[in-house]
């Protein structure tokens, strides 16, 4: 075998291996998707059937039984709403920490991240009682507030790591030309970091969309997002995997497809700029 052939063989083997890993990891999702088009009997057939006549009945039944669109709307409102609010609060903070660092900037950042370490269960009871007292149980407002605060530390940290890497000279030049601090942010910093801000927003949306602890504990039906809707299908009565799969597919499809388009950005964002 020549060196060239050896190299080719290596590429093919790498490819085969990578595809195998990817397909194995993707299999459960594929299976969920396939099952959602089966009848209940086909869904539990042994051996598992791969070829069958697809039906859309399950999707229809899920929409009828639990009003998918209502819960999907709740998910959209809470994820996008809280992400937008968090960004509005976080951008000025990250900006001032990145461009005008003080002695305590590092401590403040670490402290912010440490609030993420505070386990949600530790404060579940008071939050539940506060929500009950202010009539916020099962309301989207409560979820938006909680999601905002939940992701705020990560958002500040991610934006900070991007802003920090922006060349300071540009800002100085802008200042020389008589730009006010407001101009600096709106006309210089923000346009330069559109990518960073959008990947931060993406991550926040994904985390909110999939958040289950608060939505399971604080909502019942009115404000229940998709995570809570799915949990209502987990009760063991009877086997209805096909409908369950249809509901799951519907719940995950928007965010998975959204994620596919943005995965590159997302990974870069998620690593706090540690990976270039």
């Amino acid at each position: 075998m020549t060196l060239n052939q050896q190299r080719k063989l290596k590429t093919i083997l790498t490819g085969l291996f990578a595809w195998t890993v990817a397909l194995v990891l993707f299999f459960p999702i594929f299976w969920m998707f396939i099952t959602s088009f089966k009848t209940e009997l086909q869904a539990i057939s042994v051996p598992p059937s791969l070829f069958f006549e697809p039906t859309l009945d399950n999707f229809r039944i899920v929409q009828e039984r639990s009003d998918y669109l209502h819960h999907a709307w709740n998910s959209v409102v809470t994820s996008f709403g809280s992400t937008i609010i968090a960004l509005i609060i976080a951008i000025p903070a990250a900006y001032s920490m990145a461009f005008f660092p003080g002695k305590r900037t590092k401590d403040i950042l670490l402290w912010m991240l440490s609030t993420k370490m505070l386990p949600a269960v530790g404060v579940l009871v008071p939050i539940y009682i506060l929500c009950r007292n202010y009539g916020l149980l099962d309301s989207k407002t409560a979820l938006v507030i909680i999601f905002t605060l939940m992701n705020l530390p990560i958002i500040v940290w991610m934006l900070f790591s991007y802003f920090k890497d922006l060349p300071k000279e540009i800002l100085e030049a802008a200042r020389m030309d008589g730009a006010t601090p407001w101009d600096e942010v709106v006309k210089v910093v923000l346009p330069l970091s559109v990518g960073a801000i959008s990947s931060t927003a993406l991550l926040s949306i994904v985390l909110c969309w999939n958040e289950a602890f608060w939505s399971l504990n604080l909502t019942a039906s009115d404000a229940a997002p998709l995570t809570a809707m799915i949990a209502s299908y987990s009760s063991p009565e009877g086997l209805f995997w096909a409908k369950l799969s249809a509901a799951s597919t519907l719940a995950c499809a928007p965010i998975v497809i959204f994620g596919w388009f943005c995965q590159k950005q997302l990974v870069q964002g998620l690593t706090f700029g540690a990976v270039k």
Partner: protein, 286 residues
């Protein structure tokens, strides 16, 4: 710019997080010292350490703490070790790389509740599940995963969710590795293992730190997977702290004991965080 303006810009974030931390935390501390059961309203007298004693002597306490730590460590080890190995193996151009990336990251976007349902029903069910079918085709007895190996089942579910994340972070990091350095090492007769050990691993130190930190934040609080799949059982075999406290507060209506448990969870998280920041913190730029 003046210090006062920079402070003003930071203020909303800092104040909101302070409020978010202090109000619930002080309420938790207060509740943990009184008798507070939703079934017996009005009897909220001060009880001192009793709630803590009650929580710590609960038969579920020791299993819950050890399950929380086992879950955290196993998933960290699986995702980091397997993630590094897999990403080192697939870090070369090959056919369909883009599609493989998309397939690989997908489990990360699946919500924990759905994750648990897929695995519980379609993969691990002892009669109709894919695993049962595989082991029967190979001539083995099918395993009832959720009742025989409940904690391991949860570990599998959670690892499935986080392994893709680790792989993608590492693959992205490896793409920036210096190929000339690698080639030079090869010229000097370094084996594949040497390159992996002395060039790849050090290059990955920072990404590993990031993965460990982010995962720890989420793994200490695993809840939905347990809630949906095993319900903490059988017995306390798959109950972690989050689930135990949830059990006390919302199923047994004992807010006092649940609050004591919550404080304990905060304490544990802080201990883990201190270790963590020591271990990997120096690799994170602030």
């Amino acid at each position: 710019m003046k210090r006062s303006i920079t402070r003003l810009l930071m203020a909303p974030s800092v104040i909101m997080l302070l409020v978010w931390m202090i109000i619930p935390l002080s309420m938790t501390i207060y509740f943990s010292t009184i008798r507070y059961n939703l079934l017996y309203p009005g009897q909220n007298n001060f009880v001192g350490w009793m709630n803590f004693e009650f929580f710590i002597t609960d038969p579920g306490f020791i299993p819950a703490v050890s399950n929380t730590l086992i879950l955290l460590l196993s998933v960290l080890i699986i995702t980091v070790v397997v993630g590094v190995m897999l990403s080192a193996l697939i870090d070369k151009p090959f056919f369909g790389q883009g599609i493989v990336r998309v397939l690989l990251i997908s489990p990360f976007f699946i919500m924990p509740t759905v994750n648990a349902l897929i695995w519980k029903n379609m993969m691990m069910n002892p009669v109709y599940g894919i695993f049962a079918w595989i082991s029967e085709s190979l001539g083995f007895e099918p395993i009832d995963w959720l009742s025989s190996y409940p904690l391991m089942s949860v570990i599998i579910m959670v690892s499935w969710q986080w392994l893709p994340f680790a792989i993608l972070v590492f693959v992205t990091a490896l793409q920036s590795q210096d190929t000339e350095q690698k080639e030079a090492a090869q010229m000097d007769g370094a084996t594949g293992w040497h390159i992996f050990r002395y060039l790849t691993i050090p290059h990955l130190a920072r990404p590993i730190a990031v993965v460990v930190m982010i995962e720890t934040i989420f793994l200490l609080a695993v809840f939905a997977e347990i809630f949906v799949s095993t319900g903490g059982g059988p017995g306390y075999d798959s109950t972690n702290l989050a689930y135990l406290i949830y059990n006390q507060a919302l199923l047994q209506y004992d807010v006092g004991v649940a609050s004591a448990g919550g404080l304990f969870a905060v304490l544990l998280a802080n201990i883990v965080a201190i270790f963590l920041i020591r271990a990997v913190g120096k690799n994170l730029t602030v």
